[in-house]
């Protein structure tokens, strides 16, 4: 399947990316080559094969008691800087 410059523009919009006009042609060509390569998977019949999302490895997180545990991360950062300054994210339509 060939990826056109219009496809690049459309997918870029979905991904919240802006692609400069003079990069579109090159990107369309590179992505086309990659997509043509991955289409070799079509030679395999996988209709009865289940998908593997993740190789599960003895995780014990399925269920745990609903207890608040100490954590580090944003709450820790909050102690240091008190407030985070963010841009206005709610706009009128």
């Amino acid at each position: 399947m060939r990826i056109s410059e219009a496809d690049v523009e459309y997918v870029a919009k979905l991904a919240n990316l802006e692609v400069p006009d003079n990069d579109k042609k090159e990107l369309a060509e590179q992505l086309s080559r990659i997509v043509e390569h991955v289409e070799q998977l079509n030679t395999l019949d996988v209709s009865s094969v289940p998908p593997t999302n993740q190789v599960v490895t003895n995780s014990k997180h399925a269920l745990r008691e609903d207890l608040a545990l100490p954590r580090v991360g944003s709450s820790e950062a909050g102690k240091t800087v008190k407030l985070f300054k963010v841009p206005k994210v709610i706009t009128e339509r």
Binding site: L17, V38, L44, T52, V55, N58, V89
Partner: protein
Amino acid sequence: MNLKNITAEKLVALYTRRDLSVTEVITSVFDEIDRSDKSIHAFITLCRDRALEDARRADSRIAAGEALEPLTGVPVAIKDNMAVRDVPTTCGSKILEGYTSPYTATAVERLRGAGAVIVGKTNLDEFAMGSSTENSGFFVTRNPHNLERVPGGSSGGSAASVAAGMSLIALGSDTGGSIRQPASFCGVVGMKPTYGRVSRYGLVAYASSLDQIGPFAKSVRECAQVLEAISGFDQYDSTSADVAVEPYVKGLDQPVNAIRIGIPREYFDTATGGMDSEVKAAVEEAIRRYESMGCKIEEIRLPHTEHAVATYYLIATAEASANLARYDGVRYGRREAGSGGLGEMYRKTRMAGFGKEVKRRILLGTYALSAGYYDAYYLKALKVRTLILQDFQKAFEKVDLILTPTTPTVAFRIGEKTSDPLSMYLSDIFTITCNLAGLPGISLPCGTNSEKLPIGMQLLGNHFQEGLLLRAAHQFEKAGGFGDISA
């Protein structure tokens, strides 16, 4: 003090006997970095003051006669996609400019707990996307063996830092070979543990079902020491495995003569791999050495190998496109002002902040997940992933370990593959199957080519067989004498 000729164990012994102080060693490490890193460019951030403070603290503990941890005063470098509290984490990306981590990654915390001293954070392909460290948003890292060659990637800075004696050990992350391939190119040992073996808390996510943290070192023994320190369950990582950690170092000298080693025919088939003849010869020599050590060598089949690159680049990019959606100018680092409201701010920030390869992968992943293509690309790749996993499950019924080259060629020239992303992706053929199947793998030096560039071989094991992998690698190293290929 030259780090090239010393191991972590010897260093700690010198400290214990008070023949050397940690402060002296850490000071000389920074002298070496000041000298060598002008041409190699392995480090993005140096932690000089902190490291010297840690060194002084260790020295006063030694003076007080306290028992030392196994890595006390050992200088380590950390790939700059792992969080270290109060230190910038850039991921080699301009989009994280100005971002400082508010906490420390579990693996780094554990390494510090074992006494290690962090000297700095190393360069990488932006968000770990690449095989050469040429995709860094800041600068290109050079291979210490030959400055015109790439160090490999994406953990190129970590590999180069160990190879050049700017740190004794380093941490990297491996999503499709990003520890093993640069280890091979730089002539050091690099290990990717089983998925879930090492906590990924504090590792910036690229492809969450594939990412894993692991060590670089000059010897297998040091790799085992680091892995022992960083492995184990972590309540902060929901994919962390609740499996006991073996005493890897203790197990290194147990016999290997009953081990069955599988050689996958597909990896040696030039049509699939495009393997260089000198690489092939070195790996075949390694196979003969294992045979002479009493191991049983068997040919095995991994028939879906030829589909691994396609499968990997669909799954990894799909996961990346979701993971990197968080870099929107609101929560981290860089923010570009726009006049057209929130959407424009997102797009302008992401356009200015991300480099070409990252954008390419986000676009590919978004395409593979988009309406109308999800089943044809992403779901299909997840199904082929099952076939690749089944190939390995069948193989491990017959053999204990699998031996392959780490890469089809030695380190390539800087700029050689940058204009052709697909050819760069195809060079990952031998390393990516391991991530898709969640297996542990190790790369270790097995020779040099006619230009004195290192050649690496790879051993793969079944899930949680790190002990066996390390043991087989250690005894190869002991029998070999590839000790003299440091840069």
